[in-house]
Subunit: 293 residues, 2 copies
């Protein structure tokens, strides 16, 4: 039984924390909106008032919050985790965030005698619930090996990608890859509809060949049902693509197709669809959010 | 034993014609460069001097040439197939070409008492050789049913998508879908390289998740080997995307991500890589066509 901390118990975080608790660990939790910890507390978790308190109580501290500014706050803020006595502890940030911030946490932790990993995930809320997440890890190998048994409780595909920040960079590569599949899916469906094709036939035909993508298999059927429930929020995808493009710019490379995808998603958010799932991109072509007759 | 005609015996056409011949049909062939029919003739096909001659001799006439202008020439030119006595015959154009031209051939054939289908394919030279092509068909159902046994000799996934032109429109949707996967793959690989990630780990991690695409599974390993042998030529992809974008414009829809992909492929061709395979897109970011150290 390990003393595990979990900062940020939104949909994803709560599911992962729940697995860690069920596996028999002692769980210390914090969330900005306290009510989101209620279910975990009812199941035996201990609520802490601040990220600092979580870090005081725990040996390994996971975090999963919204934006890089939130990550910064929970680590470096007045009541941040790194304000605790942290020598010998391990921090694991699972938020999709900036590679440079991951390095900053890593270095700050080292100075305090602690360790850290960046470990963003993919697989969405379903992956979190079913413990089938892909976990992309950056940091030291020894630290990775210590945390691996806990990653294995929540994930299926787990890999150390390199040093601090490499987990975040890998996640950025993943999001760049997804961006192209989302624009492609939207545009091919808009084209097929406009050309008067039978969409079921088109999707059956394309799904087995060179145009096949995870997105087309999983999102196209939902789009045909006009189901825009978020598996992954538009607003979070925009955050991710913003980080990816900023990193690319820092590295001196242009990613024109990813930039175009970001521009389209920004436009979608401007139209008020930022809380839809990413499959809502097709609404840019639809009138009043409805598929053309 | 049916009298089958085949106009255009390039890599793809020759493979398909070969299957039809092996299946026991009488085969009449024409190609602009006569030598490309030599192997088929050695195996029992009969060479004809013009598309018109092929049509005179055959009951079902397939064609697979390069560009819409070539399609126009072999059907409507001075020695074109429709200049023959064609009553009761069936024409099947497998070239990826313009939907409007497919309709034009369909209507011209009807006036002459003949039938026609548009039937572009996907699956590349390997699909043609292994008879595993996807065949996207447009035209009348009765005609489709007559030709289906012959499609089944060359293909695996065969579907009537709708009336004349629907096969071409479906192929355009397919190419729109592929375009997004090619830009996404290139950009994520460029990003991962620049970020100093281990590409094998990145591809293993991403290949099982939301960013997975046929292109990433099939082309990324070739890119790492700097293998740009064409499965599908850059110049032909540019042709296809040009048709798709022109059709979209005619239908009054914008496809910004596809337009961006076309712009990138045009740039690649301008740099002299038009005879590479489509996976060469990444060369836009590489110096002298070499992966960065």
């Amino acid at each position: 039984m390990t003393k595990i901390g979990f900062i940020g118990t939104g949909v994803m975080g709560a599911a992962i924390a729940g697995h860690l608790l069920t596996a028999g660990n002692e769980l210390y939790v914090y969330n900005r909106t306290k009510s989101k910890t209620d279910e975990l507390v009812a199941n035996g978790a201990i609520y802490c008032n601040t990220p600092k308190d979580v870090a005081e109580q725990s040996e390994i501290i996971f975090s999963m919050v919204g934006y890089p500014k939130d990550v910064h706050e929970i680590y470096f803020g007045e009541n941040g985790a790194l304000k605790a006595e942290v020598s010998g502890k391990i921090f694991v940030d699972m938020t999709t965030s900036e590679p440079a911030l991951a390095v900053e946490i890593y270095e700050a932790a080292k100075k305090l005698g602690a360790e850290s990993l960046d470990a963003p995930v993919s697989g969405g809320d379903i992956g979190a619930k079913n413990a089938t997440l892909t976990v992309m890890v950056g940091g030291d190998e020894a630290t990775y090996n210590q945390v691996l048994p806990y990653f294995e409780i929540a994930g299926k595909t787990i890999m150390l990608q390199g040093g601090a920040g490499a987990g975040q960079h890998t996640k950025m590569a993943n999001q760049i890859g997804i961006a192209g599949t989302m624009t492609a899916m939207s545009e091919l469906m808009v084209y097929a509809d406009k050309a008067g094709l039978d969409m079921d036939k088109v999707l059956t035909t394309l799904g087995g060949g060179g145009a096949s993508t995870w997105s087309l298999s999983n999102y196209a059927p939902r789009i045909l049902q006009e189901d825009f429930t978020p598996g992954f929020f538009v607003k979070h995808f925009i955050k991710d693509l913003g980080i990816a493009l900023a990193e690319a710019e820092k590295m001196g490379i242009e990613l024109p197709a990813t930039a175009e995808a970001k521009r389209l998603y920004d436009k979608l958010a401007d139209k008020g669809f930022e809380n839809d799932g990413t499959q809502a991109l097709i609404k840019l072509w639809w009138k009043d959010g409805k598929r053309p007759e």
